[in-house]
């Protein structure tokens, strides 16, 4: 096992790969130059950034010039939406979904307060997007459609290729938040109808503080950060050199391991899910089992509460997360599960396990073994369960 913790919260953040740390360390130390400098000491850093850009482009299947480095996935999402609206001032509608990450949803809701028209596409019980509603929403007034590639809470994958075709055939810009998809699903953006795509470093074994916005050549986008000429004037601010180099290495590793994500990691996830469903009564899977990230399972335990489950699992060193209201400090359970119509009896008791290539089978067995007693213990406390 990996030290004292069994880490199954990889959709929140991931372990930084040892190879990534080795690659970035010199740039935290002796190679501290600024890539914009005119001297060789800084310039050598610039060429290393070029290598990182090429590595990211290879994983995404696009050109290096189409990569803009940002500070995180949230910045990428904000840039894509606001930067597009700025270029299209006559268009006042943004189409997105009810299950987006807050990086997109909060941005849209703020835009709504500034007079924009926001359309949030609904999902069904399995979390599948209502494509008819999407088709109906694509009016002349729409500037941009932003639909995530894969959902962070349930792992449900949206048919972005089909959505992109629908959107672009109307001449509308299509952006996808692919923070959870990159590195888990193979992709070739040069052949996909996607104008912009957001990704984040720390979800694929790079450190926090670095992200990417892919912008297809020819897409009009106003910069979000103003200042210097970095990233060809598309994102000002001195580059996060160690972070970008780390991200390049992490993308190279992700490309090499994507097969494993879809075979060994998927099998571990399937074993974990089946084991828990078998040993814990009143448990059910949230999301679309046919179209799901290979590493994610979201399981609801009826009549018990998510924070309590997490704290008991935490005593065994098991790390997961919950869509319960109590874990966030808000009073309502996950907006994703509510959009799917998951009943309150189950939404408050939902637990997400998200695996990575660093998980091993013994850990899965250990979690299965501990889950049933935890559930049993809380059910005994619950007034809704009569023995």
């Amino acid at each position: 096992m990996n030290g004292d913790v069994i880490y199954m919260d990889n959709n929140a953040t991931t372990k930084v790969a040892d190879e990534v740390i080795a690659e970035m360390t010199p740039y935290l130390g002796r190679l501290y130059g600024n890539p914009s400098s005119m001297h060789t000491f800084g310039g050598q850093v610039g060429s290393k950034l070029g290598e990182a850009r090429a590595r990211v482009a290879r994983l995404l299947g696009c050109q290096p010039e189409e990569i803009i480095f940002t500070s995180c996935g949230t910045e990428s999402d904000n840039t894509a939406i606001r930067g597009t609206l700025e270029m299209l001032p006559q268009k006042r509608t943004v189409v997105t979904t009810r299950v987006e990450h807050p990086a997109v949803l909060s941005t849209c809701r703020q835009l709504e307060r500034h007079g924009y028209n926001i359309v949030e596409i609904a999902v069904d019980k399995r979390g599948r997007l209502d494509l008819d509603m999407l088709a109906d929403s694509l009016t002349d007034d729409v500037a941009i459609v932003s639909v995530m590639w894969a959902n962070n809470e349930t792992g449900t994958i949206f048919p972005v290729e089909r959505i992109g075709e629908m959107v672009r055939s109307k001449g509308i810009v299509f952006h996808t938040d692919a923070v959870q998809a990159v590195g888990k699903l193979p992709m070739k953006l040069s052949e996909l109808p996607i104008d912009m795509l957001s990704m984040s470093g720390h979800k694929l074994h790079a450190p926090k503080g670095v992200g990417v916005l892919y912008v297809r050549k020819g897409t009009r986008l106003a910069p979000f950060m103003l200042g210097g000429h970095q990233e060809s004037g598309r994102r000002a601010g001195t580059e996060n050199v160690p972070g970008i180099i780390a991200l390049g290495k992490a993308c190279e590793l992700a490309g090499a391991n994507i097969e494993e994500e879809n075979t060994r990691v998927r099998q571990l996830r399937d074993k974990l899910e089946a084991g828990i469903l078998q040993t814990c009564p009143g448990a059910m899977v949230n999301g679309d089992p046919d179209n799901r990230l290979p590493n994610t399972t979201n399981i609801s335990f009826e009549y018990i509460e998510g924070e309590a489950i997490l704290l008991l699992l935490n005593r065994f060193g098991i790390c997961a997360s919950s869509g319960s209201a109590c874990t966030s400090g808000s009073l309502e359970p996950s907006h994703v599960l509510r959009a799917m119509g998951v009943p309150f009896t189950a939404a408050h008791g939902s637990i997400r396990f998200s695996l990575s290539r660093y998980n091993i089978e013994e850990e899965v067995d250990f979690v299965i073994e501990k889950m049933a007693p935890v559930v049993h213990r809380l059910r005994e406390l619950s007034p809704f369960v009569t023995a």
């Binding site: 007079g115 509460e305 209201a325 109590c326 309502e332 408050h348 406390l381």
Partner: protein
């Protein structure tokens, strides 16, 4: 992660008095699955009228379980009069404190106890409807309940009320009403203490914008619509509120009067005295869709 005290974790991991007394003298049930926490409290009295046995069952997070558990310890051996004097703050204090956002857990304990005592006194008759009128429909919280937490915990903001009794934590539609209750209770308090503190509530920009929008939606628009007009919020820049008239109002000769005497007056009343309103004339050319035709 929440910063729970050791005592909270102890009561969560080793809850005292779990269960349900079948032949209980008093039964109190509060909360619901929808709310995310619920508590059933049962007690039995001895022949001297003291709480001889008490048990609980709780659906909820660690602080909900811990609040219930510690409550059973506090009230065991007490008379009903003594138990009645216990406030949610006593419960939180006994636990060494709760995170602010979790104070509603201690309130739930206190409410379950009150419900159980009431149930006993009504001699097992089915519990009445909660007194008061529902203010927060999302979580079913009444004005009486809000008044009680505001008074006992000296709350001054809607966010605090939400932390303590959940009211206002859902759709947000009752924020105006909660504010009025706070003002009322705090006003009563201030009058009682003679020295009335001023009430300059410092709003953040976002709170201000939300409140302006809400005031327009709830207070101003209905008045204008009655005359076939409408209003749209264009921007809020510091204390400058820019609006545009639509429909009949856009051509109305009385518009200027409406602007000062209705729009600005209402915004000053509900948001802050410092606001002033301006009309955005540049946006008048935008296509107007009459709301009634739209419906």
């Amino acid at each position: 992660m929440w910063d729970y005290t050791d005592k909270v974790m102890d009561h969560f991991l080793n809850p005292r008095n779990v269960g349900y007394i079948e032949d209980a003298d008093g039964v109190g049930e509060v909360g619901s699955l929808a709310c995310g926490d619920a508590l059933t409290l049962t007690f039995k009295l001895d022949d001297k009228g003291r709480i001889a046995d008490v048990k609980f069952k709780t659906f909820g997070c660690a602080s909900a379980v811990a609040s219930s558990s510690v409550l059973t310890e506090i009230i065991k051996g007490k008379t009903l009069e003594e138990a009645e004097a216990i406030t949610n703050q006593d419960i939180a204090r006994e636990l060494g404190g709760l995170p602010e956002q979790k104070m509603h857990c201690s309130v739930m304990g206190q409410e379950a106890l009150a419900a159980a005592i009431k149930h006993y006194r009504s001699k097992g008759k089915p519990a009445h409807e909660k007194p008061g009128k529902i203010v927060c429909t999302c979580f079913g919280v009444t004005d009486e309940e809000i008044r009680k937490v505001v008074r006992e915990n000296d709350l001054t903001t809607v966010q605090q009320v939400t932390n303590y009794c959940k009211a206002g934590g859902g759709c947000g539609g009752c924020h105006g009403e909660i504010e009025k209750i706070i003002e009322q209770v705090q006003g009563d308090k201030a009058r009682a203490h003679a020295a009335a503190p001023p009430r300059p509530k410092k709003l953040t920009n976002i709170q201000k914008i939300q409140l302006v929008q809400q005031t327009i939606n709830e207070q101003i628009r209905p008045k204008l619509r009655a005359d076939g007009g409408d209003i749209e919020l264009i921007d809020v820049d510091g204390n400058r509120v820019i609006v545009a008239f639509r429909g009949m109002c856009a051509q109305c000769k009385m518009a200027e009067w409406t602007m000062k005497d209705v729009v600005e007056a209402k915004l000053r009343e509900f948001v802050t005295d410092e606001l002033f309103v301006e009309e955005d004339r540049s946006s008048q050319s935008t296509t107007y869709v009459h709301p009634q035709e739209n419906a």
